[in-house]
Amino acid sequence: MTLLEVDDLRISFGDKQAVDGLSFTLEAGGSLGIVGESGSGKSTAALALLGLSGGSVSGKIRFDGTDLVTGAPWKDIRGARIAMVFQEPLTALNPFQTVGDQIAEVYRLHTGATRRAARERAVEVLGQVHIADPERRARAYPHQFSGGMRQRALIAMAIANRPKLIVADEPTTALDVTVQAQILDLLDEVRATTGAALLLISHDLGVVAGSTESVIVMRDGRAVESGSTESVLLSPRHEYTRALLDAVPKPGNRDFEPGPPLLRVRDVHKHFPQRRRGSFRKPPPVRAVDGVTLDVHAGETLGIVGESGTGKTTLARMMVGLIPPSSGSITFDGVDIARRRGRSVQMVFQDPLSSLNPRRTIGESIADPLRLSGVRDPRTRVEDLLERVGLSRSEYDRYPHQLSGGMRQRVGIARAVAPSPRLIVCDEPVSSLDVTTQAQVLALLEELRAELGLSLVFVSHDLAVLRRIADRVAVLKDGVIVEVGPTSEVYDQPQHPYTKELLAAVPVTDPAEARRLRALRSTVGR
C-alpha cells in the first residue's frame, strides 16, 4: 500500500527554485533514502511534508489519503502520523525543558493521555532508543546530554506517537562513527518493530546504503537518479551519482619518513572540576584527557581518532596552548607551549562558522595573524592565499555568513596557513562537509603540507578521512591513547578491541556489505 506519494513537487523561495519537480513514492513500512550534496533541496522537500518549508509549494503530496499541499489537518498529522528527526540535534531541543517533559508534552498533545501516562511513555521510548537509566535521564536538560544522546532523544520523540512515517533529516551528520552506527541501527530497529516507514536524508552515501531499500539522488532540486539502493549504489547510471561515489575518501599512499620530534606531549592530564548542583557532595572531576604521551614529528600528519567526548578537542586545544593542562608538559621545539609566542603553531577549528568573527571580513580575519607577525600591508598576501585555497581574490571583502560551509572551512585553513607555521592542529575540519567538498579540502591540505613542509595534527572521528590523509593514527578512548601506529598498520591489523569496533562502524557504500556489518554489530557490538 502506498503511504506517501509525491508528484512533481516544486518549491521556490522567491526566485530560487529549491525543489524542482520531485516525484517519489514510499510504501507503508518501507524505507527511502534521499542523497545529494549540500543545498540540493533535501531538507526543503522533507519540510514540505509537514507544511513547514516556508516557500511557495506546488505539485502533489498525498499522505495516507490526504493531500498535504492544499492544506491539511496538520494538528493530526504533525508529530502524530508524520514525525521528523531534525538535522541539528544540538539546537532542535528546547534548552529550558527537560527531555522527558518535551517528549511527554508531544505525546499528551496527540493522545490526550494523563500527565503520568505521558511521563511513563517518555521514559519508555527513551529506553527504546537505548538511553541508559531512562527514568533518571528523562529529568535531564538537553545540554546535559551528549550529541548522540540528543539525537536519540529526538528519535524517541519521533516514535513516541507511533507515527506512520518518520522523516530523518541527516540524523548523524555531526556524530562520530560509533554513535552514527548506533543511530542508524536504532532507526532500522524502530522501523522493524513499529512498522513505520522511513524517509532518510543524508549527504553520506554510506549512511543510506545500509538503512534503505530504495534511494533517490538529488541535485539542484531534481531527482537525477532513483531506484533500489543496490542498483543505484552498485551500478550508478547518472554521472553525478558516480561523482558522489568517487568522492568518498580512498586510502592514501604516502611514504612516511619521520623527522625529529617537533611537539612533545608528556603524560598530559586535563581534569575539569564539576560544579555542585543540588547535592552537597562535590562530584568527581571530568577526566577529559587522562595521561596522554605522544610526539608529533616534523613533516608528518598525525591523525587522532575517537568517538565523541573522548577528549580530542581538549587535547587539540592543549596542543596549541589554548587551555593549560592540569598536569604533564607539552613542549614545542623544546619550549613550553604556554610560553610560546608568535606564529609557529596554528589551529583550524571544528566549527568553521563560529571560528570566524561574523563582523569582520574574511580577508581581515586572515590578515590578522600576518599583521601580528609584522607584515605591513598584508592584502596582496591574503589574496594570494585565498587563491591558493581555491577562493577568488575578491572574496577578501566578504563576510563569513556570505560563504558556504566549505568555503568557510577553507578560510579557516587559509588563516592557519597564512603566517607560515610549522604545525597546524586541525580539529575535525571536514566533519560537517559533504563528500565532494570534503574531498576538495583534504586535497588542499595535502598540497599545502607538501609545499610548506608542515606538520599536521588531524583530529577526526571519520576513519575514512584519516586513512586518506594521516601517516600515523592515534586512537583515543576516554582520554587515553589505546593504540598508536602507522595508518596502514592500525587499519589492517587493529590491536585494541575498541579500534576494531570503530572500524566496524564505518559506513560503507556497498549495501550488501553494510547489512553484513550491521548483523555483525548486533551480535558482537554490545
Binding site: 589554548l322 589551529m347 566549527d351 568573527n357 563582523r359 569582520r360 601580528l372 588563516r415
Partner: protein, 282 residues
C-alpha cells in the same frame, strides 16, 4: 530619516548664533512688554506670543525669545548628553570588557565596582560633586563628566555579559592562538560584537542624560543662567502647563524628535556595522 533629523539637530546646535542672528534675536534680552504680569507673566498673544519677530513666541516670566533659546539650548542639551553618553560608553565598555576578559578575581572586583556605581543615588552624588567643583570650570563639560561618572554602570554590565559570551567563541580562541595580546583581542574580536547592544543602549542613554542635565540644572547645579537648555525649559514647564502650553510642547517635541532620530540612527548604524544584516535589537 533618523539621520536627517539628527544631523539637523546637530546643525542647529552648531549654527545656533547664526540662526539666532537670522531671527534677529538673542537669548538674553528680556521683553517685559510682551508679558501679562498680572497673570503670572504669561506671554500675551496666541500660542505663547508667536509673532513675526518671535518665531516660536517668548519665554513666560522673562519674555526672552524662545527661538533663540531653543537653538542655543540645543547646544547645551546635545553637547552634555552626547558628551556624557560617549564618556559612559567608553568607560562602561572598557570596564565591561576588562571584567569579562579578565580572570575570576578581576571580574569579581570590577563587577563589585559596577555594583557600587549602580547603587549610588546619582542625584545625591551629582549635587555634592557639582557643589565642590570650582565655579569657573567649564560647566557643560563638568556636567557631562559627572553624569557619565555616575551613569556608566549599565553599559559596563551589558558589555561584561556580552564579553563573557563572546569570549567562548572560537574566533577569539583563533586570535589567541595567533598570539594576539589581550587588548588586541578586545579591540579586534570582542568590540565589534559589542556594537549592536551598546548602540541600542546608548540611543536610550542619550535622552536619559538629557533629562539628567535638566534635573541638575533645575536643582541649580547645572548650567548657569542665562545659558538655556531644553532640559531646563522642560523642568520649569510644569508651572506653565496650562497657562502657556507652547512652552511645554516645543522643548518636549524637540526632545522626542531628538530621541527618535538617535534611535533611528543607532538602528541604521547597527545595520551598517552588522554584516549579517541581522536584527538583534531594533
Amino acid at each position: 530619516m533618523g539621520a536627517v533629523i539628527a544631523t539637523g539637530m546637530v546643525l542647529v546646535a552648531v549654527t545656533a548664533p547664526l540662526l539666532a542672528a537670522l531671527a534677529g534675536q538673542d537669548y538674553t534680552t528680556y521683553h517685559d512688554t510682551l508679558l501679562d504680569s498680572a497673570r503670572g507673566g504669561v506671554p500675551i498673544g496666541a500660542f505663547g506670543g508667536v509673532s513675526g519677530e518671535h518665531w516660536l513666541g517668548v519665554e513666560p516670566g522673562t519674555g526672552r525669545d524662545l527661538f533663540a533659546r531653543v537653538v542655543y539650548g540645543a547646544r547645551v542639551s546635545l553637547g552634555v548628553a552626547v558628551g556624557a553618553t560617549i564618556l559612559e560608553v567608553l568607560l562602561g565598555v572598557g570596564v565591561g570588557i576588562a571584567a569579562g576578559l579578565g580572570g575570576r578575581w578581576a571580574d569579581a572586583g570590577l563587577s563589585r565596582v559596577i555594583d557600587l556605581v549602580l547603587s549610588i543615588p546619582s542625584l545625591v552624588l551629582a549635587i555634592s560633586l557639582l557643589a565642590i567643583v570650582p565655579q569657573d570650570w567649564p560647566r557643560p563639560l563638568i556636567l557631562a563628566v559627572v553624569i557619565a561618572l555616575l551613569g556608566w554602570g549599565g553599559t559596563a554590565r551589558i558589555s561584561r555579559g556580552e564579553t563573557l559570551s563572546l569570549r567562548t567563541r572560537d574566533y577569539v580562541a583563533a586570535a589567541q592562538v595567533a598570539g594576539a595580546p589581550w587588548w588586541r583581542v578586545a579591540r579586534r574580536e570582542i568590540l565589534p560584537g559589542l556594537t549592536a547592544p551598546i548602540l541600542t543602549y546608548a540611543a536610550l542613554l542619550l535622552p536619559t542624560n538629557m533629562v539628567a542635565e535638566a534635573g541638575l540644572s533645575f536643582l541649580g547645579v547645572g548650567v548657569r543662567p542665562p545659558t538655556p537648555s531644553w532640559g531646563q525649559m522642560l523642568s520649569t514647564a510644569t508651572t506653565w502647563f496650562r497657562a502657556d502650553p507652547a512652552y511645554v510642547i516645543i522643548p518636549g517635541l524637540l526632545l522626542f524628535l531628538t530621541l527618535l532620530s538617535f534611535v533611528l540612527v543607532a538602528n541604521g548604524l547597527r545595520r551598517v556595522l552588522d554584516p549579517r544584516q541581522r536584527e538583534i535589537l531594533r
